[in-house]
């Protein structure tokens, strides 16, 4: 009888190639490697930025130069050499496009391979897509509908030109230049990203969506996103990433800042599928991301993430619950396979009274990977009746991987209620045989079990994203079992 052993599965797993491993041949406008003040100024010039922006970048660069990389995370890697990276790459093409017809056909083909048919999205779904390709936005759709509501949704480079008062006021207010090594670096060299402003009382009528990709070999990607939901407004924002195969490590250090003013609500969803490296752990994206949101009175921020990619993930989408009755949520699925390492979680900072936070973290480890949850729940002295519920579940496949949980709790107010639950499980042989007996092969069975395991998080994703996320989970875990 043919026995599908763990060894067979491992072999299969190792031979699985990165599904989206292709490379588009688009001429690129690229800086030579290295970083100094001249490069920072050149980036700023390239984007025709006003002097205040250039100064802001230079200030960040000077701060960064004095900083060292953080080493506290549960990840082991060869530190990138920051002088061997080119800090700017823009696809060469017409800067302003009114319709998809004007987009480079090569580019459109790339998006089709990724399953992101813009045309189809435009036609079928209610999604406005601000596509970021190697840092420069090339197409923005649905602008008109948004305009009518007074919603601003544009590349951040455009916002710097057209809405300097908003950018000046909010950029760096949640994630200051001094926050950490990668945030400082991003502040100095960020290439582009998205800007969004929802006016008072407006409910954004569609899911706003951005797809990020790294395309140019050896270029770091430094995205900057700033999202402001004015009083009483609502927005749901989707961010999805896929990247082509690369041999050398690619650095990605994004910054996302969310501001939810009184009574506003922001839902921020991410599906991340950067190239995770090959079966030996060679290559793959280094993903050092700083994501943070501020909630004023009665405001709510919900982070949902499905993380399947990157060789290294260092990411803690957080909420500062400043106003009374503010609500913060974090729903996460992090999958690691082969030699991937993820150290991810959240920080819930309770400053206001009656603030509430929920953390649901699902970690899935396979191969030789290491998957860590790191979370901080902090209750300040003046946060009366603050509540937190945390649940951290780990699913292991095979006996070479690791799951780790680092929960930090700092309660400085006696009225706080904090709950923490954690489980660790393995996919069992009996579960697999049961599925097999019903005609479901082992691959499919794992996908089914994993999707069931992550259901609470997948359910938080907008419909069109949930499907993509499920597909990603299946792709990421094909053949892994223990």
């Amino acid at each position: 009888m043919s026995k599908f052993t763990e060894d067979d599965l491992k072999k299969e797993l190792e031979t699985k190639e990165y599904e989206y491993g292709f490379y588009t041949d688009i001429e690129s406008d690229k800086f030579p490697v290295g970083l100094n003040e001249d490069v920072v100024i050149a980036i700023s010039k390239k984007k025709n930025e006003p002097a205040w922006m250039t100064d802001w970048r230079l200030d960040a660069f000077r701060i960064w130069k004095e900083m060292t990389e953080p080493e506290w995370a549960n990840i082991r890697y060869k530190k990138p050499s920051f002088q061997d990276i080119s800090y700017y790459a823009a696809p060469k093409q017409k800067p302003k496009l009114n319709s998809l017809d004007e987009v480079d056909p090569e580019l459109l083909k790339t998006f089709e391979k990724l399953g992101i048919s813009v045309g189809e999205q435009k036609r079928l779904s209610n999604v406005a897509v601000d596509i970021v390709m190697d840092s420069v936005s090339v197409a923005t759709t649905f602008k008109k509908t948004l305009n009518e509501k007074g919603i601003i949704f544009c590349p951040i480079s455009e916002a710097i030109q057209n809405h300097p008062e908003l950018v000046k006021k909010y950029m760096g207010s949640i994630v200051p230049k001094t926050d950490n090594f990668y945030a400082a670096l991003n502040s100095a060299v960020f290439s582009d990203g998205s800007f969004c402003y929802i006016p008072k009382g407006v409910t954004c009528p569609m899911e706003l969506s951005t797809y990020f990709r790294i395309n140019e070999g050896g270029t770091g990607q430094f995205e900057r996103t700033l999202l402001i939901a004015d009083e009483g407004s609502y927005v749901s924002y989707l961010e999805g990433c896929t990247a082509p195969t690369r041999d050398e490590n690619q650095l990605h250090a994004a910054v996302v800042e969310l501001i939810a003013l009184d009574d506003a609500e922001i839902k921020y969803s991410t599906v991340q599928n950067w190239f995770p490296g090959d079966k030996e752990g060679k290559g793959g994206v280094f993903n050092f991301v700083t994501k943070r949101g501020l909630c004023e009175k009665n405001a709510k921020i919900s982070w949902t993430q499905v993380e399947t990619g990157s060789a290294i993930t260092w990411k803690y989408p957080s909420c500062i619950l400043k106003g009374d009755n503010a609500v913060g949520e974090f729903y996460s699925i992090a999958v690691t396979n082969n030699y991937q390492q993820a150290d991810t979680g959240t920080k819930m900072i309770h400053l206001g009274s009656n603030t509430k936070s929920t953390i649901i973290s699902k970690g899935i480890s396979a191969g030789h990977s290491q998957n860590s949850y790191r979370g901080l729940v902090q209750i300040s002295p003046r946060a009366n009746n603050a509540r937190n519920f945390s649940q951290c579940d780990s699913l292991l496949m095979g006996d070479k991987c690791g799951a780790h949980t680092f929960p930090y709790i700092e309660a400085k107010n006696k009225s706080a209620q904090i709950e923490h639950e954690a489980t660790t499980s393995k996919i069992g042989e009996d579960q697999l045989f049961y599925c097999n007996q019903r005609g479901i092969n082992t691959e499919k069975a794992i996908a089914l079990i994993v999707n069931g395991f992550g259901k609470e998080v997948l359910n938080k994703l907008p419909m069109e994203f949930a499907v993509e996320a499920q597909k990603l989970l299946e792709i990421s875990l094909e053949g892994s079992v223990g």
Partner: protein, 245 residues
């Protein structure tokens, strides 16, 4: 339909099945009875293709095709169904989603397209009604928090959906009270036809009051020591197994 020929099987080097012969024809109900540890559940698992067991001799043949080298899912695609004694829990996967996946994987293996969602839903409703299953039940996580009766009823529901050629019911009566037993037995009787066959594995005679077998086999120490008609079951009920040893 199913022929088991001189089947020997080991687990961890220990021989459990020591030469089993069975010949089950379409439309028939066979019952395997025997004391604990006689190899009843092992026989069910080996027919279904569980890989923990090593077949050392003999064969399992379905419709003239030797199943010995086939993976459990392939055997399922060919029409073997096993109702588990202890159905497993799969958290977060609903009864509906599970059976939908099972049906579509089977169809795919048979070169058919996936069943359209509307037809799937219709089929699920039809079978649920047949087995008097509450619709709410269908959106619960598979076997999670199910009572013994619910678990077994769910097994029979899956059997009704998959329409197997040969259904093996492994200790389906264990852990059921008499009402639950009747419901499950009724379900099996509704699904039973001239085209399929049922292999009942049971310790007690009481299930056989509700699903009446054409043949009864007594398994003892890895061998079938006696075969007969349904009256054999009554005899066993009266005398126990000792007289056959």
């Amino acid at each position: 339909m199913l022929k088991v020929n001189n089947l020997h099987a080991n687990i961890n080097g220990k021989e459990i099945l020591k030469g089993i012969n069975l010949d089950i024809k379409a439309g028939e109900v066979h019952a395997i009875m025997g004391p604990n540890g006689s190899g009843k559940s092992t026989l069910a698992s080996v027919i279904a293709g569980k890989e923990d067991f090593e077949v050392t001799e003999g064969s399992v043949v379905l419709n003239d095709e030797d199943l010995s080298e086939l993976a459990p899912e392939v055997r399922a695609h060919k029409g073997i169904f096993l109702s588990f004694q202890y159905p497993v829990e799969i958290p977060g996967v609903t009864v509906t989603n599970f059976i939908k996946t099972a049906i579509n994987e089977t169809r795919k293996a048979q070169g058919m397209a996936e069943l359209p969602a509307k037809e799937m839903l219709q089929l699920i409703r039809e079978k649920a009604d047949l087995l008097e299953i509450d619709r709410k039940f269908l959106s619960r996580s598979l076997n999670e928090g199910f009572s013994g009766g619910e678990k077994k009823r769910n097994e029979i529901f899956q059997m009704a959906m998959l329409e197997p050629q040969l259904a093996i019911l492994d200790e389906t009566d264990s852990g059921l009270d008499i009402d639950a037993l009747k419901v499950v037995a009724n379900g099996v009787n509704k699904i039973k036809s001239e085209k399929n066959a049922v292999l009942l594995i049971t310790h007690y005679q009481r299930l056989l009051d509700y699903i009446v077998p054409d043949f009864v086999h007594v398994l003892y120490n890895g061998k079938i020591v006696k075969s007969g008609g349904k009256e054999l079951a009554h005899e066993l009920e009266e005398k126990g197994y000792d007289w056959l040893k």
